[in-house]
Amino acid sequence: MKKRFDISSLMRSKLTWAVVAEALILLVCLIVRPDFFKISYQPSTGMLYGNLIDIVNRSSEITIIAMGMTMVIALGGTDLSVGALVAVAGAIALKFMRWDVTVYNTPGDYTVYPFVLAIVVPLLVCIAMGLFNGLLIAKGGMQPIIATLILMVCGRGIAQIVTNGKQFTTGYSPFRVIGQGSMFFLPTPIVITVIVIVCVSLFVRKTAFGTFVEAVGVNRSAARLSGINAQMVIFIVFALTGFLSGISGLIYSSRIMSNDSNNAGLNYEMDAILAVVIGGTSMTGGKFSLAGTVLGSIIIRTIVTLVYYFGIASEATMAFKAVIIAVVIVLQSEPVREAFAKRTRARSQLAGGGAVK
């Protein structure tokens, strides 16, 4: 019982750094722009506006993917193919809804195929690709990083072939709602993200599945011997990550109302992995924290917003991201935390000795 408490406090200390980092970044934002936390209501669109809303809204693609990535990393692997799947989902969706030059002159409010197809087919294809990853890893026994590298290399090629290298645009309004509309006074992506977070958390924490994932991540053979169907767990996790990448792809393409096979989801795998790691989930597998991942994703987006406020080129945000992430990761690394723990222990002992005197 006591040991368990130790582990949870360790996890909490990792999360603490993430919270502190986020608070510091927000503080800097507040100093740069005093009206940073202002949130206003726009009756015409029925949406709340404000920097905080914008940060959460823009981080939703990464947050959704990172939910699946958390479990992939808890299994001890990484999924590099998510960015490519985002591109594939967008390409397929737009293939079904493309603006046909021969019929209309401007991208209008219509779709070529039923809207359901444009939503369901991309998600199914993404699940299938996730299952392909799972097949290579669970049945083929390959390393996740290299197995998903295949689809990462292929995926954008597949997306190009789906659209024949063209960039389609659409003006179909139900599709616009996904990325630009509003629900319950909030931008739709936030609502979708919240639904995803709730569903995944319930699935993982209210069933035994989360424990299965952690067990397989710690020791696959031991998990198998204790009666867990490790292959099935891997299949489900990778299919889920594929599915979530598909949702993310739909949101991304709905934001731009177009498909962009070269840039859609570019570096998403990196951002998602970073979000997970900043959130305190170890890359060696085992314990994971979904709340930490959400926080990690928001931290990444807050950094980007902060850099915009300083009026620095968008590409240069990477340098600032790198510096802040480096600080967080170094603070989270084992030797540093141990050193901290030692120092506090020593101090408390000193303080205790003083009291005795």
């Binding site: 083929g140 590298l149 295949i150 290399v153 290298g165 240069a316 990477m318 790198a322 690394s333």
Partner: protein, 353 residues
């Protein structure tokens, strides 16, 4: 005497640890043969086409030398493309805007690139941060600094760089007592020479030095290497430093190849480089890999675009899919080879008992 020497050579060559290298060479030859049969009349078999594969991919190859070593230690380095891009940026900005001599810029790039590599190696080993995350942060940092320098492409204009980029050695043949260029003319340039030299240096380091043995030992089992008293930390840090050196050299050759610096150049190159190493027979789990395999991996990766160019009808993104399939094929072969050798090892004690 001769006989024993010959036998030892054949037994050395048939060592199962070279199977992956043979697979790479074999598949390269098969694809080359296919190209020769299909597009031989269009000039696929000429020396020029073959040399172009070296010229167009020299920078990948140079980076792959360092990457192979990193992968053999069981690590990974995602920062190579960004560091190479940063080098190009330093050279372009330094020569064109600041008016510095290119050698000064290259020296500065070397300090930055090797320094970043050593720092990442230090963080990986001593702070126990996973290589993937550490080098990803390094990539973001290098790429961000690129964009801070300039967001637009800068042309490289300097007599020395022009001379280096334009320097070529033509292949000659003796015709009627006179040396003439072979037709269609084929040549090698500075980049190819750097590539070949780096492959040779890499081979010597891996096969002939204590440092190289340590790399293999760490990749095989880091714990055992530590218990054997090998300098694990120093070796790992130096490997990442060497990879930084390779990235800078790749950046210099890329700058010579395109004669400009751009903050977004070589995006995604790190995964291309890793792909080259993997289809060259390097295991991502560490401990296995050869420079000669990496050389053929680079050639194998470059022959696909060449085939697509010669076909003329296929669109270029088929190249990505073909590369992905090639990767799949190689991983499957690796898996089969590893399984087969693993089973053999398992069987041995059973027979003894």
């Amino acid at each position: 005497m001769m006989k024993t020497k010959g036998r030892s050579l054949t037994s050395r060559l048939t060592n199962p640890k070279y199977i992956m290298v043979y697979a790479t060479v074999g598949i390269f030859l098969i694809i080359y043969l296919f190209g020769a049969l299909a597009y031989g009349d269009k000039g696929f078999t000429t020396l020029r086409t073959f040399m172009n594969m070296f010229i167009d991919n020299a920078y990948y190859g140079i980076s792959a030398v360092g990457m192979t070593m990193v992968l053999i230690t069981g690590g990974i380095d995602l920062s190579v493309g960004a560091v190479a891009s940063l080098t190009g940026m330093f050279i372009a900005y330094g020569t064109s805007v600041l008016g510095l001599h290119p050698l000064v810029c290259i020296a500065f790039s070397l300090v930055v690139g090797v320094g970043l590599g050593l720092l990442m190696g230090w963080v990986i080993h001593y702070l126990n941060v996973p290589p993937f995350i550490t080098t990803l942060t390094g990539m973001f940092l290098a790429r961000g600094v690129c964009s801070l320098i300039s967001r637009e492409s800068i042309e490289i204009k300097h007599p020395m760089m022009d001379a280096l980029a334009g320097w070529k050695i033509y292949f000659m043949k003796l015709q009627d007592g006179e040396w003439v260029r072979i037709r269609p003319s084929a040549f090698i340039n500075f980049n190819v020479i750097v590539f070949v030299v780096m492959i040779i240096i890499g081979t010597v380091i891996l096969q002939k030095t204590r440092f190289g043995r340590n790399i293999y030992a760490i990749g095989g089992n880091e714990q055992s290497a530590k218990l054997m008293g090998l300098p694990v930390g120093r070796t790992k840090v130096l490997v990442y430093g060497f990879n930084g050196l390779c990235s800078v050299l790749a950046g210099v050759t890329y700058a010579l190849y395109v004669k400009s610096g751009w903050n977004l150049s070589l995006q995604g190159a790190e995964l291309d480089v890793i792909t080259c190493a993997v289809i060259g027979g390097t295991l991502l789990t560490g401990g296995v890999g050869y420079m000669i395999g990496t050389l053929f991996g680079v050639l194998l990766k470059s022959i696909i675009p060449a085939l697509i160019t010669f076909n003329g009808n296929l669109l270029s993104w088929w190249g990505k899919i073909a590369t992905g399939l090639l990767l799949l094929l190689f991983i499957c072969i690796q898996k089969i080879v590893v399984n087969a050798t693993g089973r053999k090892k398992e069987k041995k004690p059973a027979v003894k008992n």
